[in-house]
Subunit: 411 residues, 2 copies
Amino acid sequence: MKADLDRLMAELNLDAIVVLGDETPNTQREYLTKRASAHGDIFKKRGEPAVFIVNPMEIEEAAKSGLIVKTKYDFGLEEVAKQHKGDMEAIQRGIYRNIFNALGISGRVGLYGAAEVNYAVNLAMMLMDSTMNIQIVAGGDSAKLFAKLYETKDEEEIVALKEAGVLTSQLVRDTQAFISQHYAASLEIGTPITDADDKPLTIGDVKRFIRQRATDLGLTEEDTIFAQGRDAGIPHSRGEDDDVLQVGRSIVYDIFPRKLNTGYFHDMTRTWCIGVAPADVQAAYDDVMHVFKETREEFKKAEDAKNFQIIALDYFESKGHPTHRSAPGSMDGYVHSLGHGLGLNIHEAPGFGLYSTAKLTDGNVFTVEPGLYYPERGYGVRVEDTVYLDETGCHTLTDAPYDLVIPIRQK
Amino acid sequence: MKADLDRLMAELNLDAIVVLGDETPNTQREYLTKRASAHGDIFKKRGEPAVFIVNPMEIEEAAKSGLIVKTKYDFGLEEVAKQHKGDMEAIQRGIYRNIFNALGISGRVGLYGAAEVNYAVNLAMMLMDSTMNIQIVAGGDSAKLFAKLYETKDEEEIVALKEAGVLTSQLVRDTQAFISQHYAASLEIGTPITDADDKPLTIGDVKRFIRQRATDLGLTEEDTIFAQGRDAGIPHSRGEDDDVLQVGRSIVYDIFPRKLNTGYFHDMTRTWCIGVAPADVQAAYDDVMHVFKETREEFKKAEDAKNFQIIALDYFESKGHPTHRSAPGSMDGYVHSLGHGLGLNIHEAPGFGLYSTAKLTDGNVFTVEPGLYYPERGYGVRVEDTVYLDETGCHTLTDAPYDLVIPIRQK
């Protein structure tokens, strides 16, 4: 969490950090600036407060960060620009040198933030220039700084994550109610779902409902997965807008919105069959729920995260499913890891892959999302909650029924 | 435009490009992949088709890019991972070497995309390793590749930009109609705007209307500026949700949404005074509209973009306004540049700053947005359209009245 920054900088042997940014969305900067709508770079010497250097036009917005706010004019931009008229790289170099000198930054300086690669790599090469009194650090242990910060959430963040969970769960329950207000002529598998006037209900219609309801709730969602049948069997397929919903086809509904005013994510998945569930989908769902429940009950402080991936792999393999351990590169079976941390990023530490070195600890917030995929057989199943760990145990932030079969009206 | 890629690579002396990406939003990758929802790196040797290397889970989505799609397994991931068990950086190095060899990439390789800075800089340092048969290029002329691609739009992009313009203009006209359905007890400056039940209309209410209407229209907007009075005088202030709209205060409404299915931006600004306009705001508005019209009529092929900034600076200074030329660092007067190109990014080439080297050309799409800011006097004015240049002249993509005063009902 944020309060660990100086300690982690010492642990990673960093004398200072620079959080770069252009207009690229930049959660590392957002994390340190409380999402103030301002661009600019953050300079922080270990043990000193962070300085946010922005365009003069953005001073007021930047002040919402709570950081010390300065502009490049405070570091001699006018003089440097005159000196190197039009040579943008020389101007940039001059300004950075002035900033490092003014803030007393020397030694090992870690580079962070998000930016265009061409810009960031060129800037890094420029800062490696021997006339600067600093050593640029990237990769190796330094790569872990923000992952380590993100790994545990403080109270303010847990509140934000809870709020996102309440709203996203509401949205998923509302989506189910919206679909269940529709009709099927029979419960034969493949029967199209329609409205009262026999107009077919498409994935595009459902996505439009989701988008509007998300807006009402103060959520922003992108890339929501609402995929049916074979598409549900491809973990990252978003679904096709023109497809009509059908009785008995597995639908994977994976939604991961941010709450607008905080930026914190929630991530949850439900698998639905409208009206009835075919036997093979039901069997896959039962296996997935077994792993979901077994792992969900066992998460605890000081355990290795990867042990839960092993529980999932062992169980799925025991039931005859291929996995990415038993059949690397397979598109069938259990083909991803059990979960991932989340916060201002949809994917954060801790990771739950087979090679994860993470140990669970209080303050972790992460997803649990076992799934089984059989695109050629025309189905996929995934169930996902976002949970958190504290001294009293593992709690879910997600609040929606797990039922596979959802009701539909018959005419 | 996209068709210029090989020519521009030759011009910039690039034998190949690598477009890196992690989960950071990445318009350079989106541009080349038609916004397929897949992560991964793009490798392109000059004169050869681009290869998009993705996670096996994302093959189907990646195929929507129209590029050749491969996975790291096609380049020996399994063997490399076994060889360097758990050493992620060694694995990464081995895979990149295999990819460069398989695609016959050598010589000068430009790095692009958007990513976390720590990751990108470390990767670049790794690729600079002498055992690779390539030379990593960033900065200098190489920095211009995507700017040059973006500088002109092809027909498909113009269509997408027109669509975004139609919808955004609709949204702004609807916002004006929404406000004008409200009431003021009198036209005295400062009188609060209310609904029929005397409930005050706040900026938060207007922003909620904008958000919902944007969703209905298939637009996604973020960071919309709807700022009143002193906040309108601070170009990048977003406005305060709790502020009640008042008669006669200048309101700067700057909105720059993307159309959901294409990702292309529109950018426009209107300044409104509800009911009446105070004399000083009207005078500033007249000066702004003078520059708006004068430049709008003169944009033509082969002209230097910066000349239009000079027109704006000369006129505003002649009317006694400070500018960032006459008073660098000033918060008052005309404090930004006249416009900017836009497309999949809100800010692209051509730029219109005083040091811009851009020459206007057919296929340019850019904003025209003169403004005057006097935060201490409690007002700001900006008017902005998005326009494009073709062989028949300069055309606006924005379609909403420019009127400063908007009507309000009186009780």
